[in-house]
């Protein structure tokens, strides 16, 4: 079945997630939909399945306009989606998960359903036991089940959203094999991915999205460099900051650290961070950077390996020790994890330094002047703009800090605010200590970092110094090339 989008727009509040998508997917092909996180891939697909409603535009199936206003209607048109997060019911067993839903053929009894499940599984060489409880299955097996369920109700358009996240290589091979098999039987497949090696291996054609717009299309065989150029913004032309690098003593050391969390976890990570480092953590979001920062800050538990901060071993969970030794961590969710909504700027100073009300008032006034925070000591944290919230967080960093960890420090800020923040950070901390930050914007990392760690699927795949920094090289490493 041919699928066509015409001028599809989607707005979330004031945010334009999709700005007029035109895209055509031919029947019986595997079509890749690639782009950075936040490019709008998942949103577009959720509109096709009826999970989200479009703001405007048309969707055509085999040239006929259809209305996909809710999942039941879309399923009626033969559209099925394998969501990134398995949309299933863990306490129920495999067979029950296979059956449940309005889109299932309810004329069959349990025994017949069980046979159908086994039949489908055999067809694509999956091994699933109908009576196993889903909770005991791996993500890959749960995905296989979902895949069989969609096959079972004869989906003619199958959408897969990042299907290989968190599954084993063997499961990946089985899945790819099954996908090729059903494509050859006439099923239309849309593969949403940012992993270019997979796109290369599977897709007949790709569409590239960036910031909610189509930036290009290509047919197999693909040129990776062209795809990368269309996926990411153009590399910056001028370097703003001088990348001089004179590392001092070691501050933080990861030695063979493995930890679970944030879906992909962190695997066998060995990194040493020295005084004078400004380390940018590059990678598609959720590739392990966040977990790396939380481990360093003593906010996450590691399963294996050693972690040392200023020569002292950090025990399992010890954020307090981390702070006492001069560490600071600023999470990306400023209002939920960084600041306290309902507290004024003055309250924040009183709390952070244990100051009396009058002393806090003075500190707050000083900080407002020094950091150009638009507000008064009585302004509540939540009524500050994003940039001002971030400046408040920076103002709260004690002067003695030796290690500043930041998670997406300029998220949601305009260029001017971002520059102010970096000017301050580089000026104050870069020499006396180290800065480690993650950012979804590769441009930002290249601008300010003198060292870059590239994360892919929970592993540090590159550790690059300033003179080795190359836009294309990093972008390729981020997507697993």
């Amino acid at each position: 079945m041919q699928v066509e989008f015409q001028q599809v727009h989607k707005q979330f509040g004031t945010v334009q997630a999709l700005r007029g998508i035109d895209m055509r997917v031919e029947g019986g092909t595997i079509h890749g939909l690639v782009g950075e996180n936040g490019a709008g891939k998942s949103t577009l697909m959720k509109i096709l399945t009826g999970y989200l409603t479009k703001s405007s535009g048309r969707i055509l199936l085999d040239g006929v306009e259809v209305d996909c206003s809710d999942p039941q209607v879309a399923a009626g048109h033969g559209i099925g989606m394998l969501y990134q997060e398995p949309q299933d019911f863990p306490p129920l067993n495999v067979l029950e998960n296979f059956i449940v839903g309005r889109d299932c053929d309810h004329d069959l009894n349990r025994t017949e359903q069980r046979e159908r499940l086994t039949q489908l599984a055999d067809k694509v060489h999956f091994t699933l036991h109908p009576n196993d409880v889903l909770e005991k299955l791996t993500v890959g097996e749960r995905q296989q089940l979902e895949f069989l369920r969609l096959l079972g109700r004869e989906a003619r358009v199958l959408i897969l959203d990042e299907p290989t996240t968190g599954i084993s290589d063997q499961q990946k091979m089985l899945l790819f094999q099954a996908l090729r098999q059903i494509r050859d039987e006439g099923c239309t497949i849309i593969l949403v991915s940012h992993k270019l090696d997979e796109v290369e291996a599977l897709c007949d054609r790709v569409t590239i999205l960036r910031h909610g717009q189509v930036t290009g299309e290509a047919s197999a065989p693909f040129k990776v460099s062209e795809l990368l150029e269309m996926m990411f913004d153009k590399p910056p032309s001028v370097d703003v900051v001088d990348h001089h690098y004179h590392p001092g003593g070691e501050l933080l050391r990861f030695k063979g650290v493995t930890a679970a969390g944030e879906r992909v976890g962190l695997h066998d990570c060995s990194v040493s961070i020295r005084q004078g480092d400004v380390v940018g953590l590059a990678g598609l979001s959720g590739s392990g950077q966040g977990l790396f920062l939380r481990l360093a800050a003593g906010l996450a538990t590691r399963r294996e390996g050693m972690l040392e901060f200023v020569g002292q071993s950090m025990d399992k969970l010890n954020h307090k020790a981390f702070r006492q030794q001069g560490g600071v961590f600023l999470p990306s969710d400023r209002l939920r994890q960084g600041l306290i909504p309902g507290f004024t700027i003055r309250d924040h100073f009183a709390l952070a330094a244990g100051l009396s009300s009058a002393a806090a008032q003075q500190a707050a006034e000083q900080a407002i002047a020094q950091f150009h925070i638009r507000g008064t000591p009585e302004t509540l944290a939540e009524s500050l703009s994003g940039g001002n919230q971030q400046r408040l967080q920076l103002a709260l960093i004690p002067k003695s800090a030796r290690m500043v960890l930041l998670e997406s420090p300029t998220r949601g800020l305009d260029v001017e605010s971002a520059h102010k923040i970096w000017r301050f950070l580089r000026g104050d901390f870069a020499d006396q200590g180290a800065i480690v930050f993650s950012s979804p914007e590769l441009d930002e990392i290249l601008e300010v970092a003198n060292r870059v760690l590239v994360f892919f699927e929970g592993r540090v795949v590159r550790d690059l110094l300033a003179d080795e920094l190359d836009y294309e090289h990093i972008a390729a490493a981020m997507t697993g090339k």
């Binding site: 399945t49 999970y51 989200l52 409603t53 809710d70 999942p71 039941q72 399923a75 989606m81 969501y83 949309q87 299933d88 019911f89 863990p90 306490p91 129920l92 029950e96 059956i99 449940v100 839903g101 309005r102 889109d103 299932c104 309810h106």
Partner: protein, 326 residues
């Protein structure tokens, strides 16, 4: 002598447990679909009053039970509309309703206080009631006891053997996923909350029209709604285990009354109150068994493991969270 008193003991346990079973099963359905209806203590009291009032005025027990079920369902629908559709905290809405219903029951029910009204009598089932011991225990009971016993099996069957029951459980576990499969989670939640509420109402009337006949202040069933809530947790959201929990509590209550006769020197209040802390103790024990440390010890004893596994229950994952499609 001992045989005779045992018969009475078990027969009373069954009768005492019946309304509790019905209420706890109603709450089980509600929670299985992901909604907490915290109003059941007050709701049962109001339904007991309305049930008594209607059958007193009309002379019909059936009308009384019907009215009580309706009261329970309407209150549950209020919880549903506010909690599911308007996204208020279900616990807060339920709690407010429980307090309101209790006061409303005493206020509206005042004219019917201490009146002699219709009540359910025991039905002797021919032939079966002549079986020694089992006959008087099982087959000489008010109709509501049979209803309660049948409901245990019926609800188990509906939840675990039918497609509709599967959808019900699916919504309680993951409403988003249910939505992607063409099920409207909120409609399901409202429907089963209303049905659960009707059962809770029925349980209220089972007291005022049968097990503790009449209406008065205090009615003597205050707090039983909270116990029914605890029993749902005790039973791990499984209808059969929930029913066993209700039997356990009823047994504690009846044994208290029996012991009161044997040890008259112990203050009567001790026996009245004892079932409540004992129930909490049982809950703590069940909870402790799920701790990691205990789990390790349990694994070393395979015989125990089978038994303890039966005691464990996991709450529906979406319990108390309202679902909003984009």
């Amino acid at each position: 002598m001992s045989d005779f008193s045992l018969t009475i003991l078990f027969a009373s346990v069954l009768a005492t447990a019946a309304p509790l079973i019905i209420a706890a099963l109603g709450e089980t359905i509600t929670e299985k679909v992901g909604v907490i209806n915290l109003s059941l203590d007050g709701s049962m009291l109001l339904a007991a009053m309305v049930g008594f009032m209607v059958s007193y005025e009309s002379g019909s027990l059936v009308l009384g039970f019907g009215a009580a079920a309706l009261v329970g369902a309407v209150i549950a629908i209020v919880v549903g509309l506010f909690g599911i559709y308007l996204g208020l905290l279900q616990v807060a809405v339920g709690f407010a309703l429980t307090l309101m219903c209790k006061d409303l029951a005493y206020f509206l029910g005042n004219p019917y206080s201490r009146l002699q009204g219709p009540q359910m009598l025991s039905i002797k089932i021919p032939v079966l009631s002549d079986i020694p011991f089992l006959g008087p225990v099982l087959f000489q009971q008010p109709l509501i006891v049979y209803v309660a016993l049948i409901l245990i099996g019926a609800i188990w069957w509906y939840l675990f053997q039918t497609e509709r029951g599967l959808e019900l459980r699916a919504v309680g576990e993951n409403p988003e996923a249910a939505y992607t499969r063409g099920i409207d989670p909120r409609r399901k939640q409202l429907l089963y909350t209303a049905i659960g509420g009707a059962l809770i109402g029925l349980a209220g009337a089972a007291y005022s029209l049968g097990i503790k006949p009449g209406w008065g202040r205090p009615q003597g069933i205050e707090g039983l709604g909270w116990i029914a809530l605890a029993i749902v947790i005790f039973g791990g959201w499984h209808p059969i285990k929930v029913a066993l929990g209700a039997f356990l509590f009823a047994f504690l209550q009846v044994i208290g009354i029996t012991l009161q006769g044997i040890w008259p020197s112990v203050p009567a209040q001790v026996f009245q109150v004892a079932p409540f802390p004992l129930m909490i103790f049982a809950l703590v024990m069940v909870n402790l068994l799920q701790r990691e440390g205990v789990q390790g010890w349990v694994k070393a004893h395979p015989m125990l493991q089978r038994f303890i596994k039966q005691l464990q229950g996991v709450p529906p994952r979406a319990l108390g969270k309202s679902y909003h499609p984009d």
